[in-house]
């Protein structure tokens, strides 16, 4: 390649660069800003990396090696097998319990919130104003403040230490109902519902064939929120359940971690670490796969003018 060609192509490049419209929407990329954000990324990912790396170590090499690098025999698969077999396979039992609570509690909460939000958005009925005020107020009531009284009440009904004591309180998601309410108000034109009514369709049929289809993105957002909320729930099951048979993963793992330092207890840090990794994998994967849903929905209600 000779000098002339190089000069021409360089001129062409700079001409192209000049001709690119200087827009406020596409400013030049900044290396410095990217590096600063890189620090934050490092802070965010370090504990996850630590968990991944240390799930490959044996109990012995855990304490004798640098935390952020691999060491000793690669025992990742051995740790997973040991996590599932320890204590008569209680980890698997806890995982299945968690799935049960997520499906019944989180799934149920999403269905109730969807029905209720749709009802608030498109119907006028006696007592509506009171219901609206109470539900909006309830969003600020922290669930954990109610856990102790709920326990006392549930124990009167003989519901404590059963799966129901975890599932029933999980069924209510005021913030989920609020999001669907906002979403259904915006996404479903009420004229469409009126037209269907004039055609003589039943209200349930109108909901299933018209209303629900238009609010699917809001539905998925709320499903994600309740999925994470029930999967990660700790305080409620800790209070309600006393036998390990019904524990979810969160309570089970913290029990394992408590048992380790106790006198005479076998050290099982490697199992706590591997179990933690297994416990976060489903929620992290689901969240990353469903990005576009929660991004739109999570703030739809909160930033509306």
């Amino acid at each position: 390649m000779n000098a002339d060609v190089r000069a021409v192509s360089a001129a062409g490049r700079s001409a192209r660069r000049k001709s690119r419209p200087i827009s406020v929407t596409t400013p030049r990329k900044s290396v410095l800003l990217t590096l600063v954000m890189g620090l934050m990324l490092f802070y965010t990912l370090t504990p996850v990396a630590w968990l991944l790396i240390n799930s490959t170590k044996t109990q012995n090499s855990l304490s004798s090696s640098f935390g952020l690098w691999f060491s000793g025999p690669f025992s990742f698969f051995h740790n997973i097998a040991a996590t599932f077999s320890y204590g008569n396979g209680e980890f698997l039992r806890w995982a299945l319990n968690t799935v049960l609570y997520v499906v019944l509690g989180g799934g149920g909460a999403t269905i109730l919130a969807t029905l209720g939000g749709y009802g608030l958005a498109h119907f006028t009925f006696p007592g509506k104003r009171a219901v609206m005020a109470i539900i909006i107020g309830a969003i600020a009531i922290p669930g954990t403040a109610l856990a102790v009284p709920a326990y006392l009440m549930f124990s009167k009904f003989g519901l404590t230490n059963t799966p129901w004591s975890v599932v029933i309180p999980s069924l209510i998601s005021p913030i989920g109902l609020y999001l669907i309410w906002v979403y259904a108000t915006e996404a479903i034109p009420s004229g469409l519902l009126e037209a269907a009514r004039l055609d003589g369709a039943s209200e349930l049929r109108i909901f299933l064939s018209i209303g629900f289809r238009l609010i699917v993105p809001g539905f998925v957002t709320v499903l994600l929120l309740t999925f994470v909320a029930t999967w990660n729930n700790y305080f409620l099951p800790l209070i309600m359940l006393s036998t390990p048979n019904w524990f979810p993963l969160t309570v089970g793992l913290s029990n394992w971690s408590n048992q380790a330092p106790s006198a005479g207890g076998q050290l099982i840090d490697n199992l706590v670490i591997t179990g933690s990794l297994l416990a976060i994998t489903p929620t992290v994967i689901v969240f990353l796969l469903m990005q576009r849903y929660w991004k739109a929905g999570i703030t739809a209600g909160s930033i509306k003018e």
Partner: protein, 306 residues
């Protein structure tokens, strides 16, 4: 505009059906929610208020004592310490976290980042991590036996203080909650920034506004409502802190007591002390403090609106 006592939430603009169809049909949709809502939220509140007005005595049994449990709480130094811990987190940790979230949201919105989508996705990941696991991970890393702190000490021959010692344990805890929620708040603020119409920026560019003027005059006001909502979430989270200190307790039994936060106090009063009446009073008191704080935040945040 209906303003709730809770979050900065308002009732959605109501699209009234053309003929006001005032019938009971709506209850068919809302009924299931309301029934369970009454059973799991309203009933426990009422029951807790009832409990908080009584006291179980060894002699004489259950008797009405009025506000006596609340007065006990006002003079209870254990409760004061627990409340002080969460207030300290609220006034120190939350502003630091919000500043980080705001800067990250502005950086994402500036379109000046390489691989912006990587940042947007990764920074949000901790929200999907259970608080129990977050506390376990950081607890291990803080540890002096095989944690990173011990590693650093032996690798570069320094003596970092033990993060779980009593002087630092609140900072250690604040770091965990910051880690968990900085990305969540970033997303809330970032979404608010994304809703700014493009022509506002074009108009500012025509007027020759500098980058900082754009941030100050357009972006910060656009984030304000979202910031109030994020702050209310953070306030509720701080006042109700339980899982993280309760998990760390086994690693630092000498610095994290059984009444480290108000919620831990209420929990231990109930389940280790059988003092259900007093625990209910603490729970209700914390609920009231939370609602008052949320309301004050909202009123303060909305000032200057319209």
């Amino acid at each position: 505009m209906a303003v709730s006592p809770g979050l900065g939430l308002t009732t959605p603009p109501h699209t009234r059906p053309r003929k006001a169809r005032r019938s009971w049909t709506g209850w068919g949709f809302l009924g299931p929610f309301v029934v369970i809502f009454l059973f799991t939220l309203v009933a426990p509140v009422i029951y807790a208020i009832y409990l908080s007005l009584y006291r179980d005595k060894l002699i004489g049994g259950n008797s009405f004592v009025g506000l006596s449990n609340y007065i006990t709480a006002i003079h209870d130094p254990v409760f004061h310490t627990a409340l002080f811990h969460v207030l300290l987190l609220l006034f120190v940790q939350v502003p630091i976290m919000m500043a980080l979230s705001t800067m990250a949201a502005l950086a994402l919105d500036s379109s000046r980042l390489y691989v912006a989508s990587l940042f947007r996705m990764s920074l949000f990941v901790p929200y999907a991590v259970p608080s129990v696991v977050a506390a376990l991970m950081w607890g291990f890393m803080y540890g002096s036996t095989f944690g990173l702190v011990a590693n650093l000490n032996s690798a570069i021959h320094i003596h970092l203080p033990n993060p779980l010692a009593s002087n630092y344990v609140l900072a250690a805890l604040g770091n965990i909650t910051t880690w968990e929620f900085v990305g969540f708040n970033m997303i809330i603020l970032y979404s608010a920034l994304q809703s700014v119409p493009q022509d506002r920026y074009e108009a500012a560019a025509i007027d020759g506004a500098t980058k900082f003027q754009v941030i100050r005059a357009i972006k910060v006001p656009a984030m304000r409502r979202a910031l109030v909502v994020a702050l209310v979430f953070a306030l509720i989270g701080s006042f109700q802190l339980f899982a993280e200190p309760n998990v760390l307790k086994s690693l630092a039994p000498n610095t994290i007591g059984s009444a480290f936060t108000p919620n831990m106090y209420a929990y231990n009063l109930s389940f280790n002390g059988q003092e259900f009446n007093y625990a209910a009073a603490i729970a209700i008191a914390m609920g009231i403090i939370t609602m008052v704080g949320a309301y004050a935040l909202q009123v303060g945040g909305m000032r200057g609106d319209n």
